[in-house]
Amino acid sequence: MNFDLTPDQKLLESTVASFVKKESPVTRFRALREDPVGYSKSLWKTMAELGWIGLAFPESAGGLGGSFVDVAILLEQFGAGLLPEPYVASVLSAGTAILRAGSAEQHEAFLAPLLAGDTSLALAWAERGGRYDPTWVETAATKKGDDYVLQGEKIFVQNGHAADVIVVSARTAGAPGDSDGISLFVLPRETEGLRITPVKTMDGQRAAMIKLDGVIVPGASRLGPEGAAAPVLDEIMDLGAAAACAEGLGVMRAALAMTVDYLKTREQFGMKIGTFQALQHRAVDMFIRTELAKSTSILASIKVSDPDPAARRFAVSAAKVELAICGRYVTQQAIQLHGGIGITDEHDIGLYFKRMHVLNALFGDEEHHLARFAAQPAF
């Protein structure tokens, strides 16, 4: 197994880093907090033109055939700059659902515009009773002639507030918690009966609660065979978790850098506060946690594409737990070491703290992944 970055990947890393610095300083995110979309459609288009959306798709689907390690390089830099464009929701969640389960016609219809940066997507999988279980699907899809009627409710749909196309999981058979009987449907935003309520998340980004009230969709909008979507959703959960680890690493690195910088400039008692051993040691512990999370995040980026689901789960759950423990520590201490200014909205450090909080809640929290890790046969 090769841990090193290729020259192409190093180039990608520096390109993204300078793009984020130039096009998306944190002041941009601050301003977008008041915007109903919360990100820029023109920047999204630029990102597509740079090939970053294509990176996540195989050439057969019109992409550039990159690896998840390439994607993780992007995400880490997005995290460092709090870039709010809906990469994970559009590309890794809904995009993967269409890629894996969809037909060539559906790829053409929905992935081609995404790859061009003309649309963004969302995947509505979570339900109130299901916590992090994508098989907990109460939403029903009832066959009616050649159509289906969808009835139910989806929560915290990332990019659901702005997506042009929404992929919805619904049950064509079985009961909540059953792996069998889950189907995916792809719906244009304007579909009648789709009731989208935007919500603000605590980090200043947006999502949506979606009610499906007798929504009638044609049979042709189903992705893949009826009732067989569970493995696709299972993979998407791991992709999302690995993505959160990569983005979170960027968040941690930025928070650490800001804190170390603050320790070197802030003066009290007539000297730089970074002179105090108690604060130095805290900063070192933040550094240690960042490095450990980086190691597990790299491992997850490599293993998330492993054909063996057990190997994938092992590395992804380890990394997501490590992100929770380390990311929480680093951002908590970042606030603490900034002192009073750290708890104001005026200072950026709180934005990183809140983003980490949301990342920890996405695609399985610490407890969820710890339990999954402990469920391995070795235990």
Binding site: M1, F3, L5, Q280, V284, L299, L370
Partner: protein
């Protein structure tokens, strides 16, 4: 540890090591073996471990990264770690001449003369000559540079006087890497020199110390007008501090178990904890079925995974180029504190059984984790305390101002 992470050459070495440690696992010697190289206390233990090292070296599994000319195998960096991982996995005893292999040897390789390399290195690997370390003194612990042991030049000799402490294996050592002050007028860091000091010289006395585990291993060493040849000096007079920093860097790398089978972070201890959890019970069922203990063990297993992945990453320049020294610096600090935490969880798993003395008949796993817990402090203190390590990382890696 996942063998798919190896390059082809390493995979080959790993398979060879795995087979060797599987087929040559030593049988019970009939007496208590020490847990680490820091606790060797009897001649009986030492001779047994010496024979074990000879056997492992004979199998071509020691000094694998050292040049062939000095008895090594000339394999790429990271190869010895592969062997160490397999030792951890097999749960075989450690390699005894650790100071020679991880402290003295790499320093001699880096700065020694050709003659010194020929003279010392091969015998370190074969355990024909054992080494100890004479750095700390009663008055020079974390502030090592304030050491007062003196070496005064007199013709072709140096006359050594002073007092060293925490000297592991001094009872059997043939040589000591010794820091002594050769210039008492120079600033404290500048007046220190580094010697390859023959322990069997006249005027050297060794006094054993007993640790809280009841075991020996540490000693005090006293020097009374000891006359040694001037050729014992490594590099030049006044180079001692620079070389000591180098040796301590090798030591930091070694403490994560990189070279000679230290159990920390080599994959064996979490598995041992899982075995313990299956052995002890809680509320009438194995502790391995208790959700709280399962979570705690899983957390440790994940942290161990993070340490193993970090060790791999440390060997890939592209992944550390931002801060090239960071991971070697961190490895000692993180791995030793992890080992301490792990041993403490072992105690928690045992519950009331944790009161048994090490070696008591009914102690769980023979009291392994009681002893590991007590011994773990030797690692968070020795080789620069965790606090000194944090100072170093803060100043040298994060660029924080020097603390007052």
């Amino acid at each position: 540890m996942d063998p798919t992470r190896d390059t082809e050459g390493k995979r080959d070495l790993r398979e060879r090591a795995r087979a060797f440690f599987r087929d040559n696992r030593p049988s019970d010697p009939g007496f208590k073996l020490p847990q680490t190289f820091l606790e060797v206390e009897s001649e009986e233990q030492f001779l047994w471990l010496e024979a074990w090292q000879k056997q492992v070296y004979g199998a071509g599994l020691l000094g694998v990264e050292w040049p062939v000319a000095y008895g090594g195998k000339g394999l790429p960096a990271g190869s010895q770690r592969v062997v160490a991982e397999e030792m951890g996995r097999a749960g075989v005893p450690f390699i005894v001449n650790r100071i020679g292999l991880d402290w003295a040897g790499p320093t001699i390789l880096a700065v020694g003369t050709e003659e010194q390399k020929q003279r010392y290195l091969r015998n370190i690997l074969s355990c024909d000559e054992v080494w100890c370390q004479g750095f700390s003194e009663p008055g020079a612990g974390s502030d090592l540079a304030s050491l007062r042991t003196s070496a005064v030049r007199k013709g072709d000799h140096y006359i050594v006087n002073g007092h060293k402490v925490w000297t592991t294996q001094a009872l059997w050592a043939d040589f000591m890497i010794l820091l002594a002050r050769t210039d008492s007028n120079a600033p404290k860091h500048a007046g220190i020199s580094y010697f390859l000091f023959p322990m069997k010289s006249k005027g050297v006395s060794v006094r054993p110390l007993v640790k809280m585990t009841g075991e020996g291993g540490f000693n005090q060493v006293l020097f009374e007008d000891v006359e040694v040849p001037a050729s014992c000096l490594l590099a030049g007079e006044g180079d001692g501090w620079r070389l000591a920093v180098m040796t301590l860097a090798f030591e930091r790398g070694a403490s994560e178990g990189s070279a000679t089978g230290g159990a920390l972070a080599s994959g064996g201890e979490v598995a041992r904890l899982v075995a313990l959890a299956k052995e002890v019970s809680r509320d009438g069922r194995p502790s391995s079925e208790d959700p709280v203990m399962r979570d705690r063990i899983a957390e440790l297993a994940i942290e161990e995974e993070a340490l193993l992945a970090s060790a791999l990453r440390a060997r890939v320049p592209g992944l550390v180029e931002e801060r090239p020294l960071a991971l070697p610096f961190l490895s000692k600090l993180v791995a030793t504190e992890f080992g301490q935490k792990l041993a403490a969880v072992g105690q928690e798993l045992e519950g009331p059984l944790a009161q048994y003395a090490f070696g008591a008949e009914r102690a769980a796993d023979g009291g392994h984790f009681q002893r590991a817990y007590m011994n773990s402090f030797g690692f968070t203190i020795g080789g620069g305390t965790s606090e000194i390590q944090r100072n170093l990382v803060g100043e040298r890696i994060l660029g924080l101002p020097k603390s007052t």
